[in-house]
Symmetry: C2
Subunit: 114 residues, 2 copies
């Protein structure tokens, strides 16, 4: 998975998912996360996905969408998979979700990075 998304110019929608993982090995989380990302990428309005997680279990995942409608459709799809329900029961100690309209964006890249 590439580190950065490449959304077009704003406006677009960001769904911010901050979470604390429960410390369980072999609970199927990685498989679920990869499948969710694969399904998201197939969905109308998908613009990209970024995620990072600290060793202590705190992580942030952001999916970018063309508009609120596609972001909501994705929420329904992921719920239909049962990911959110199972996640509440098994994978996460807690999570916060913020749905946001991106109004401005800019970026920087070093010239000398090979």
């Amino acid at each position: 998975m590439p580190a950065f998304t490449s959304p077009p110019h704003p406006p677009y929608v960001a769904v911010i998912f901050s979470s604390i993982r429960t410390p369980q090995e072999g609970d199927g989380y990685e498989t679920m996360a990869a499948e969710l990302e694969r399904l998201a990428a197939m969905q109308e309005g998908y613009l990209g996905f970024e995620s990072a997680r600290n060793e202590d279990g705190f992580g942030i995942a952001i999916s970018y969408w063309r508009d609120e409608e596609s972001a909501k459709t994705w929420k329904n799809v992921s719920e239909h998979m049962g990911a959110q329900k199972r996640g509440q029961e098994k994978w996460y100690a807690s999570y916060h979700v913020h749905i946001a309209n991106v109004t401005r964006a800019y970026q920087f890249a070093r010239d000398d990075v090979s």
Copy 2:
């Protein structure tokens, strides 16, 4: 630093900073990051800060602000410190910034987490 922010109900502003760190030890990054966070917390309109970074160097940091004005003021403060300029030169291979208006938010916490 607490893992989660506790912003009030939307609307509020999220500044999403996704970055790839350059692999340099002892470059003062941690000191700068801690100082920036300390200064942010003192600023009018500050609502919270969250961050996570993968071992491979990709990370996401999000600061939450009461409104666009306080988010912009913070940008000026951090630039005045020179953090952004030095960051471009030293700490980051690349970064993306998204400024977004949070319109909805919800959260979950397990009851059985001790």
